[in-house]
Symmetry: none
DNA sequence: TATGAATGAGTTTTCATTCAT
DNA sequence: AATGAATGAAAACTCATTCAT
């Protein structure tokens, strides 16, 4: 009696959430299946393996991030500050909703152990760095922009971790504030130079 | 063969390294035992459970950090910059040698899943924050010092994570540079104010 | 090989027999699995834990006793003696076939050690006492009936134990005879009183 | 530094109590050692094996019973009732203090599994039966006396079990009362016959 | 005698995965 | 597609026992 009880996308979304909360190894396939309302065996109709499911979860996260944020970085109608705010707001919303970072959880558990996944994660972070960098290049020179982008994203991931330890969201919000302030100041100083001419 | 093959301290040190590299759940007791050159059952002579062993590893890490770095923060013979450098050098050395942060790995794997450990981790980070804060209070007011301390430590942990993803140590060294520069600039600005009086 | 090799009921029946013969702690899950012709891991598909399996065995024993004996105690077509005989025959058959009492084994091994089980066992014995009591109330007053019921069931369990020690079934059969005789005499004495009126 | 911390007799007494409470398999050598205040390894100086320790516990129980009760059955200065009372009081005290019967616990756990022990237990019960029988022969004929003795001891063991299930000592005390009453009535009836001559 | 480290076989339990229906 | 029984390898943990000091 084959009747679709749940779509592949819904399973991925559930898996993403559980992986984020409990980590890769502490999450069992039967647990995901149970939350999905199907049986363990049925999961294997959609995904060949747990690794496959996790890769799908990473890709889906990446895709959502792309559509929700990265895609708008090229928008010529937005100011530098608008674009940065948009990116920051998107990631803040995501990390607060998920109460953690799936990428961070999975990286540390799998990086030395499940090599196939490392690449997906690297791809995601590279693209994030590229996007922040692109925005920053509007006010910084190329090298500096990239450095700040890397630094900022590392700071975000670190603060998400601290947020989990201390159950205190201000770690994350403060990093984001710092990023905004830094760029605002830079822009003001550039404007000053401009006006002084 | 009853005679002591390995000390409790040596076991803890090995466990700490393996936990850091492979994460908590991917590390099995038999694996640790094997590296120690003893049998799985013998591990349980020294530690009642895996959680117990990990707690010992965390505490040992904490203790080493305390002895190697925190203890010198109160030294009146050192300048603010010396103390900060000392702390930074110690953590940089530790994280580069271990090729990662045990605390970060364990936090993300266990925080929502093995509650007993959360407290040990919180204690460590609180103490670290306190020590950086104490140093910074020499040049910042209290509230600001604490904020910067929290921000810095979050940034360090985040950069250690990125370091593992990209196999690129510059994430970590650059955060440390940033911390040094920031404080140096602050001190210079304070000196300027002093001299202008 | 996915298809059903053995039903849950069959597993319970096997477990019941093995638990009765070897006791709870001397019986391992792999042993039960082996007799069932499945793997240890497959047992856990049907039962969450050893305790769960044992509870199922107790409940199944209880249910059989209920269906085979307790259910007929309310039958108005039977004389007091018939009902008592029916109950006695049923328990005698059960205990001789099993060569022991699962309840007794499990009680003594688990009562101070696996608290979850105590309740199931208490429930069974309470119901047994109630049933014997109900029959006896036809010839004794309420209080006395209950006392004799408790005494009799204790005597049965003790005799099953002695039966195992001495490999001598007469311990059990003699207790049953004693119960029958006692009631018969009582009835005769009541009839005498009746006739003398 | 060999200094006697605890005597062999004290260890046996402790083992006897723990075996009674928790059963044979649920009692570990380290647990007994811990209560004794010595280390597990040291237990093996006194006893070659767990089975050896348990056999010692059984023998010690048997010996105490012998000295405390059986030895007085031959006392010509006591009446039948006195002797029976003495035996009953002794066993009642023992079973209530121990909150259970070691023999019963161990029988059911080991009878089909550790054959060496079965013999010790049979010997104890045989001797107990013999002693009760000897007393009863003063008022019953030989065969009848033995039957009642067996019946009574089975009833005692069963009631000790029920006492553990229901945490209700009256199971045991009532069996003992029943034994006393039965013999008193028999004696009274014999006296009647005597007087009627 | 007592210690305590080590053993090794055993226990319960978990879990990703397979597959016939 | 979904089921659910079965697998088998591996996990954490237990414990009676040994033995050099």
């Amino acid at each position: 009696m084959p009747k679709q009880k749940i779509t592949k996308e819904e399973i991925i979304e559930i898996a993403r959430q559980v992986f984020t909360k409990k980590g890769y190894h502490r999450t069992s396939m039967s647990e995901i299946a149970e939350i999905c309302g199907i049986l363990k065996g049925s999961l294997y109709h959609h995904f060949r393996s747990k690794e496959d499911l996790m890769t799908a979860a990473i890709d889906s996260f990446h895709k959502k991030f792309k559509e929700g944020a990265f895609s708008q970085v090229a928008d010529p109608g937005l100011t530098t500050q608008d674009k940065l705010n948009m990116l920051i707001n998107y990631s803040e919303k995501t990390y607060l909703e998920d109460e953690g970072s799936m990428m961070a959880s999975i990286v540390l558990e799998t990086i030395n152990v499940v090599p196939g996944i490392a690449e997906s994660i690297r791809t995601f972070f590279n693209e994030w760095i590229d996007n922040v960098s692109t925005i920053l290049e509007e006010v910084y020179e190329r090298e500096g922009a990239r450095k700040i982008a890397k630094e900022s994203i590392a700071a975000i991931e670190g603060s998400v971790m601290m947020m989990q330890i201390f159950k205190d969201e201000s770690f994350l919000t403060r990093v984001h504030e710092g990023m905004r302030r830094r760029v605002n100041e830079k822009i003001r100083s550039l404007d000053l130079v401009e006006n002084n001419k």
